[in-house]
Symmetry: C2
Subunit: 192 residues, 2 copies
């Protein structure tokens, strides 16, 4: 017999997947229910705050998962190699979804006028990622005053490249940005 939290967690994970493709504003409860197979009557039982609440929880869950992935790569590889690992992961997401999926947090920012809570979560998630990357850069010889700016550059450039690659339906923009980012970061680390 399934525990009561199973349906709830399934909805969160389905919302996470759908937000990647359609954004928060573009995803309806019907979409989440169809994708998760969760019972229709349980939505407001589990999420009394409605769409705002499920969006907030799904985005936090997504952000934590991605942060874990980012730190796992940083624990095993040099920063320059880590960039390639992240871009490869994004490339797989784009290819396997035929460019339908992207980053939930970019969508959350765009949808912020309708869902301010989602935009706030995106801000917190970006900060978490930035902290993790800046910390790793310091540990690999980056000049102290450039650790945070370089981390911001990496996040911004990769997120932007995913957007451009989706628009063009090609992995080329992502590949190019990956290569240039590696060159820039390699130069900065060599100077430190």
């Amino acid at each position: 017999m399934p525990r009561t939290s199973d349906a709830r967690q399934k909805m969160i994970e389905s919302a996470s997947v759908l937000f990647r493709e359609r954004g928060v504003h573009g995803t309806s409860f019907a979409d989440v229910l169809a994708h998760s197979g969760a019972p229709r009557g349980s939505v407001y039982h589990h999420f009394k705050g409605g769409k705002t609440q499920i969006a907030e929880e799904a985005l936090r869950w997504t952000g934590d998962m991605m942060l874990a992935g980012i730190t796992a790569v940083l624990d095993e590889q040099e920063p320059v190699a880590a960039i390639e690992a992240w871009c490869d992961t994004w490339g797989a997401v784009l290819r396997e979804s035929d460019y339908a999926a992207g980053c939930s947090f970019v969508s959350a920012v765009q949808d912020g006028e309708h869902e301010p809570t989602a935009r706030a979560v995106a801000g917190a998630v970006f900060s978490d990622w930035e902290d993790a990357i800046a910390s790793a850069l310091r540990g690999h010889g980056a000049p102290e005053e450039r650790a945070v700016p370089l981390a911001t550059l990496v996040i911004s450039a990769v997120e932007g490249a995913v957007v451009v690659s989706r628009a063009r339906r090609s992995l080329e923009p992502l590949h190019r940005v990956c290569g240039e980012l590696q060159l820039a970061l390699g130069t900065a680390l060599a100077q430190g």
Copy 2:
């Protein structure tokens, strides 16, 4: 007496403004009419293709305006200085809108599952910008094989930085990315 095209052009320009803040999917006809003051009955008279058509035309108009701005800066300044000019412009947009406004084309990509035409326009617009920037970089000593990748990096990083700055309600991410982009581009041009 106003020419017939006045109301039509006003709707396009209003849609352009609203797309920056709410995206294509998040903007309704009512929003466009309220913002433009255009007569309600004229929507389907001017745009028989409905929302898809007005979105396509407004995005093309926006993209052309922005391309003109990009090339104007490139005609007057060195590439490294041009980056600062673009970031300053984006900073003003963010500040004056209290971080409500961003890039229409990022939104258009996110809304692409509902509005595929809008995503296609975004892809074409990004290509136009890339061509203009790559051409200028070639003219300022960039190695031939890096002109396009560097142009893609500039576009991706700036677009990503605008997203992160909106999420965090701070100009800091944009400023940091601006500085790091200038360093990276300066190094690359010196090598050429």
